[in-house]
Symmetry: C2
Subunit: 101 residues, 2 copies
DNA sequence: ATCAATGGTAAGCCTCCACTAACGGTAAGC
DNA sequence: GCTTACCGTTAGTGGAGGCTTACCATTGAT
């Protein structure tokens, strides 16, 4: 199958990680700020961010004692391409089946 | 948040369900046929199909003793729309952040 | 009516993983 | 120096869910 697609899916499959992703889609945020918006502790957020970073969906930038996380547009675009291909294949197959009638 | 997006994500987040989705993208299949292609038992496939059906990604059609499952183009299109909106928001936010520099 | 084929469901097990608590580490301010 | 703020990591735990086994229902064939 497609490893990148599967990795991205598993990364966003968890609801908390998806929430983090949504928050970051509004702009960069520090770990504490993220933890303040979510019903989980700060270490949990840290761990989720690690997963998102390993999946190439997020980048981090250190600023003083704080560390800001932001979406990685390259990783997002790559994942989007995989999804688009998946949708196309799926809907194309349905189109063929419909015409065969 | 967006419940439909979250439901669809959790549905496809599992690797086995994703595999089922991929198989069905080639055309309708019966439960036994799906189980034969996958390293899990038939009941497991049935349970996964139930989840996919509840998420609106799959439809079932009874034919004799067999039950054929197929992708639901409407549900797929709906999920795709949510994803597209998510990508757009994400990349737009990055664009804004880049111009602000 | 009996049997085979197909599949949905229940119960139980077991693994995985999300989460917290505790610790250590680094940077800024006093 | 000391303290405060912020963060990553580890160890341990609890719960969620994926899987199998067993059972039952339905359909079609003999």
């Amino acid at each position: 199958m497609d490893a990148a697609l599967q990795t991205g899916l598993e990364a966003l499959g968890d609801s908390t990680r998806m929430a983090i992703f949504q928050k970051l889609s509004a702009g960069p945020l520090a770990v504490n700020e993220l933890a303040g918006m979510l019903p989980v502790s700060r270490p949990a957020v840290s761990q989720h961010l690690k997963v998102l970073k390993d999946a190439g969906l997020v980048t981090d930038r250190k600023s003083g004692t704080r560390r800001y996380y932001a979406l990685d547009p390259e990783g997002v675009a790559r994942l989007r391409a995989h999804f688009d291909a998946l949708w196309d294949r799926s809907l194309h197959a349905f189109q063929v089946a419909a015409e065969k009638r």
